[in-house]
Amino acid sequence: MDHNLSQAPRSSWLQGFLSLLVPGLGQFIAGARSRAATLFAGVLTLLGLSVWTIAQKARFPDFGLSLEIYIKLVFESALLLVFLLALRRLFTRYVIRDPALEAFSLYGVGILFFLAILFVGDNLLATATSADQLALVHTGTALYAAASLAALWLWQVGDAVRIGSLPPGEKLPSMGTAVLLICLLIFSLGYNITDINMPKAIREYRDISILLPRILWPWRAAFEYDQQVLEVTQPIQAPCPEGETGPPSNQPSEAQPWISATPTCGQLSARPITGGLDLGTELTITGGNFTPGQEVHILWKNPIGNPFTPRGMGPTDIIIDENGGFTTKLNIPDAVVPPSTAVGAQIHTLAVRQESEEVFSGRISEEMKLALAAMLETIMIGLMATFFGIIFAFPLAFLAAKNLMAPIISPLDRIVGSIAGLAAGFWVGILLMQQVANALGGLEQAPIQIFVVGLVLLGLFGYAGIRLGGRLFSTVLGALGPTVSFVLSTALLGAMVAVPGYYLGLGFSRGIRSIVLDADVAALNEIQYAYLGAGLAIILAFVYAVLRRKSRGLSIGMIIYTITRTTLNILRSIEPLIYVIIASIWIGLGPFAGTLALALHTVVSLAKLYSEAIESIDTGPLEAVNATGATRLQTIVYAVVPQILPPFISFTIYRWDINVRMSTIIGIGGGGGIGFLLIQWVRLYQWDLVGISVWLIAITVAALDYTSSAIRERIV
């Protein structure tokens, strides 16, 4: 950013005019090049952003109010601002006489203004209906955005004029106001895009006020309650065929509660398709010997035993009178029966149920047990993921540490030999692995054995290939003399990179084709792209080899470092929740998917952290141990590892904290644990159980947090 003018300015009014047309043009002519570039790029970007945002919202019908509301908005907010500024002036002049507080008071004015608009804005402008609220937010913020943009434009015109009248070499005026205007603009756009509507949030608090107490104190659902249920029944026949009288009415009893209905045979209610309701036969129900003053419920059970509460047929909740009896009327409801069972006499059951008060039994409910088990599962997911993360991140971190990787340089012929050896070793290993797999009966029969054997074979033969191949090429080509060796190894390197280059080219062209879908559009066909890829790879390899000719060899260490670091960075930016969704498709829902996903993210994240710890070590001891003749591995064990132990432990505990939190919500994506239950209970509107889950999560996370900080104090 230049602060001084570099050349003599021209007429200030010309510059002002130029800046009016194109932002930054005047400043450019005046010599303030980088300021001109910033203003040009900035103003145009913000203009584009604003126009696009407003255009998006303008498509909705609720956008746009009558002109008077606009005017009202501008007028009243200006009034408010003037009022606040006057208040501030009075305040600072007569109450607080401290010049340092003047700046603060401006900040206070800004805050008050925003708060006023935020909470009281719509009342301030007294809009007609609440449907206008959202429209107000949209238009209001759009107007503010437009105003800021206009103010910014005018500012940079003024800036161009001001620069025009400065003598050369002067410091340019500050861009503070411009920055403020840009912030205002971005704030307005953000407000617009995120649909912030504080009055709505306040007005609709009732939606949450019913829910919140149940979530905050959900413990009733954690226990089982004993309840005695008394049910007395009377069979009813419906429909009633010609001549039948139905089952006998119950007789009153002295010993126990009873109900009786008259008649016991009648017609069902019907709800025709055209609408309305045809009521069925009216029954008179009497009952006795119940507990006086208690409430009883009427239930209807259809012939196959499905119970339901009949609605609209008469009262279903009845208070027993002081004699222990009751009388009520009820129409036979529209109890639908599946046609396949509608043979013979259709006997429904009229039931009267008396539930005693629930008694606390002290036993844990089934759902609570489920939640506790899920919580344990969650803790274990976090632990296992961290454990596997540590194991795999540790070696990976060394590959991603620049100070360890940079010195690894190998001469070209040895590298070429090693790669060739690796390929040969893998080929042999794969052949043998297939033999073993066939002998063991294939992947279905013995997956673990095949996997382990395959790993061992590939590892052994690959390693042997690298070592032998490298040594072989080195000796053979070394004997042929340096020039021949260079030419041959470069040629071989070219041949080797040509293969992946070929496939990359092929893949690239197929990728383009799959988007464009027109084989003729791509000027080159598939094979040509493939050869192009191979050719590019060969050229790159040649260039690289020639450039590194003078040095001691290819810095294979830096290549490995770059690949590792880039991969880690890319994988790290994807949140575990997304990995869980993918994992649950591969492995299936459940904690294994969650553990796998979390472990993967832990590995890449920890590897990055560990490698940063390795890069920050003191190189002195490294030098000293190296000077004693130690091999690279010995140097790492004796000089690097002791130094990185404290940050390693610190990072591991940090990651464990994160994993505990992550594992609680990983279930939401299908990863098992408490999150799995939580999301189901939310969907079933079981707010008590949701509350229990939330409480369990909070308690567990807090407890593990405390533990980890205690461990950290002890060890680090």
Binding site: R552, D618, G620, P621, E623, A624, V625, N626, A627, T628, G629, A630, T631, L633, Q634, V637, Y638, A639, P642, Q643, L645, P646
Partner: protein, 255 residues
């Protein structure tokens, strides 16, 4: 023992640290290297055991050219050359004993050291080495619990573990007070006279050079500008002094 021929070292950013340096170190000698900071003393010492790679020239160790040898052979050469550093370069979090034992890594098979296993003899050697430098009781303390002088003695013990033919000392006493400096250099002198270990030591102060070094080479801006015996140092004229240390240098202390 050591012969350096036309050694030139240019850093990747273009700084020329050593220019055409040639000299010889005889068996059992105590050679001092003097010069301003930045004159190339540290670079020279590090080139000898190839902690830094020279750009041109040759290093001959016991008559053999070691400038371009492979890592596996370099290991065998490095374990014969011990090194002592200005900043001691101990592994702070490890015990003194582990630090001393790490001097034996050049002789230990790599797989053993992974599980921190040294032979019985190595442990005895370590105890002996600590005894020789006078701090046998500090064997199990953490390295950073020791004072500066004690830490440097551990560094010497570590070099001793290699049973070296030569010790390179890169300003070993620059961070220590005068009394300690004499003490540490005294140990080096003892090793030089009693065990016949060649010592190549870079020093700042001429009184130390006079007291301990048989022969001296002086570097300035990467070039050898002085080569002489102890007597030559005693009789160093002002002119020659300025040749080594530059026009603005002033002599301190007795001449």
């Amino acid at each position: 023992m050591l012969k350096v021929e036309h050694l030139t070292m240019v850093y990747p950013d273009g700084t020329v640290a050593l220019r055409d340096v040639s000299f010889e170190v005889k068996d059992g000698e105590f050679l001092g290297v003097i010069g301003l900071s930045g004159s190339g003393k540290s670079t020279l010492l590090r080139c000898i055991n190839r902690l830094l790679e020279p750009s041109e020239g040759r290093i001959l160790w016991k008559g053999r050219d070691i400038t371009h040898i492979e890592d596996s052979e370099l290991r065998l050469v490095r374990r014969e050359i011990g090194m002592v550093f200005q900043q001691f370069n101990l592994v702070k979090r490890s015990s003194v004993n582990t630090n001393v034992l790490s001097g034996r890594l050049g002789y230990t098979p790599p797989s053993w050291s992974l599980i921190n296993r040294f032979s019985r003899k190595d442990h005895d050697r370590a105890a002996q080495a600590l005894q020789r430098v006078g701090i046998p009781d500090k064997a199990h303390n953490r390295a950073d619990e020791l004072s500066g002088g004690q830490q440097q003695r551990v560094g010497i013990a570590r070099a001793l573990m290699q049973e070296p033919k030569m010790i390179l000392a890169d300003e070993p006493v620059a961070s220590l007070d005068p009394v300690l400096a004499h003490s540490i250099l005294g140990y080096l002198e003892k090793l030089n006279k009693e065990d016949g270990i060649t010592v190549m030591c870079s020093l700042h102060f001429l009184d130390l050079v006079q007291r301990y070094c048989e022969r001296v080479i002086g570097l300035r801006e990467g070039r050898v500008v002085f080569e002489g015996s102890k007597k030559d140092i005693q009789q160093l004229s002002d002119e020659r002094f300025k040749q080594i240390y530059g026009e603005e240098a002033q002599r301190l202390g007795a001449q």
